[in-house]
Symmetry: C2
Subunit: 370 residues, 2 copies
């Protein structure tokens, strides 16, 4: 019988709290569906720094490379704001992305009908919204060399005497592989891809546009492809987000645009993400799953966190890493039911009332509904 290996990295802030609820769901599947999960747990981010002096220990990195899937909570928090750049919590996350080569970050921005009123946008603009942002995750300005802060003391024109540098660098191969991921996903959805860059002012944007177009013309001519400047993309996301199906964009633009898109839905506490790499021996992609929300230090330890984004991230793992699509459906249905019943964590409490529950009660309700 197959065992499904999973490395859980709760991380910082509300990460551990929401992960406790995912554990309940995993237990349910083990007990009631006879699915064997081989779950291990380790530290990442500030939590790892506190213990090891680095935001990701080598052993943890090694383990992440060996498992079928990694599930991460969140990293960072004010306690670590003044840490040196090289040991910031975020660098643990970036190391995982880079060394596992998780080049395609899938960020669905879905508006759950029961929550449409939480959006700052008008209901008619966000109701039913369902777009998927595919963000390149292992290259671009987050990783390009040269980088750093240097002294510029011998430049009398430079008050302060320092210079900060990062390099936006993309190879054609890096662009093609994430473009393929986007086209493949589009084929299973609305068959449309919009690629975003700043080809009008950046050469890396020109390369991006040309290579996405190349993949389209040579391999996916049947998918509808359009191009948009990223600033206009930000406008269009606010103006009429449902004009999009799949958006493919680079690491930095993807960071900003996917956060804006997530916020449009009013469902930030509900949004999962998957970061996928090349296929492993078992034929399934290397993968890490994490909620879109951050570590939320302001509500940490208060039982207020919504565990649904992290549980839905586990549902994505069921689907993409364990080939358990039916089980993923089951879990998603259970969450829908709980929401329809009016069960609400603090972030979901609106004028329409509902039953307020804690993080832990929400986990229990979802397991009950399974």
């Amino acid at each position: 019988m197959t065992t499904h290996s999973l490395l859980i990295l709760p991380g910082d802030g509300i990460g551990p709290e929401v992960m406790t609820e995912v554990r309940k769901v995993i237990d349910w599947f083990q007990t009631n569906k006879g699915i064997q999960f081989d779950v291990s747990e380790d530290l990442v981010g500030g939590a790892a720094y506190d213990k090891h002096g680095v935001p990701l220990a080598d052993e943890t990195m090694q383990k992440a490379q060996e498992v079928d899937a990694v599930l991460l909570g969140a990293v960072g928090g004010p306690a670590y704001d003044n840490l040196d750049f090289s040991v910031k919590p975020e660098r643990g996350l970036l190391r995982l992305r880079k060394e596992m080569d998780l080049f395609a970050n899938l960020r669905p921005a879905q508006c759950f009908d029961a929550l449409a009123d939480f959006s700052s946008l008008k209901r008619e603009i966000v109701a039913g919204l369902d777009i998927l942002i595919v963000r390149e995750l292992t290259s671009g300005v987050y990783f390009g060399e040269p980088r750093g802060i240097h002294s510029d003391d011998n430049n009398p024109q430079n008050e302060g005497g320092r210079v900060g540098i990062n390099t936006q660098r993309y190879t054609s191969g890096e662009i093609r592989r994430v473009a393929r991921a986007a086209f493949e996903l589009a084929k299973k959805r609305g068959n449309r891809v919009c690629s975003m860059e700043k080809a009008n002012v950046m050469e890396s944007g020109i390369l991006w546009r040309e290579e996405v177009q190349w993949v389209h013309d040579n391999e996916y001519p049947e998918v509808e492809l359009s191009h948009m400047y990223a600033d206009n993309g930000a406008m269009q996301l606010v103006r009429r987000p449902n004009q999009f199906d799949v958006i493919v964009t680079d690491n930095l633009f993807g960071d900003i645009l996917s956060d804006a898109a997530a916020m449009l839905t009013g469902s930030l506490g509900m949004l999962p993400s998957a970061s996928l790499g090349a296929p492993m021996a078992n034929g399934r992609p290397k993968a890490m799953y994490e909620p879109v929300h951050g570590s939320a230090p302001d509500i940490t330890g208060q039982g207020k966190a919504n565990p649904i984004a992290c549980i839905l991230s586990f549902a994505m793992a069921l689907r993409y890493s364990y080939d358990l699509g039916a089980e993923a459906d089951l879990l998603e249905k259970a969450i829908e039911k709980v929401l329809a019943d009016g069960v609400r964590t603090a972030d979901l409490m609106g004028p329409d009332g509902g039953t307020p529950v804690s993080t832990s009660q929400m986990g229990d309700k979802i397991v009950e509904a399974l």
Copy 2:
């Protein structure tokens, strides 16, 4: 008697159409207020390329350096999409910004009450919105070297064999001067500045944060300063934009965030901008003014363009470049009156009705109201 020199660069698309309406306003001030404007006009963008083979002729650049203010319409359009990068319409604009050293780009995002219903956001979230984004405009990844697209043929791992590079580069001095501009502006408004970067993943972002903090601590301790990651900034702009007063950020983030902010207001056809540099001999800053909207090729030549953004840009010129604050007030009041009277270009036609007018009629109405 002082003459006020102005170089008009209508540019492409709807640029010339909206500029015609600004001319009417200028004429009115000359005739009725005895203010002497020395207006010259020249080409920029695609229009300049068509005539000179470059998006900005040297003579035009020279003239721009000599006048009190430049007023630009818009650049770019599909006809120029396949031009070589070095002669793209946008490069004319970038040359002006760079050579005039217009480091502080002021982008107000205001929601005009009469137009609040045009926003895709709920009225209560955008009504009365009045934030000011100060975008660094002459440095960062738009200008950093090295840059370009190179062959990477000897790298067998790189399918496609090319690499695209841009460099995000900021000096401490560049950051300090735009920070000062932001703090000065904040003092005349809500006394709050929020600085946005990605200091968690980019060293240039760390330098940005440290230098803005330095200017604050040493020169503007009385202004309230906060820092936010740019991805969170995008979220917060969508969620609760009125939490901000002045936002200061770099060239690339500023491009995206200010476009998102502009779109929030529902008043894109109404938003002006000013790009300011160092003081000239007359004590006033080098300056270029332009509407936030683009060249809008889809409505070019149809009399549908809203000239208000460009006329309000001229109002900013009255205030910042000609020291004619009372006249700027007068012009802004006239525009308010016209809107209150229900006069509406196509983009402003909503369910509440109003009197539909063409670009030209809108200009006439504003002059009448003066």
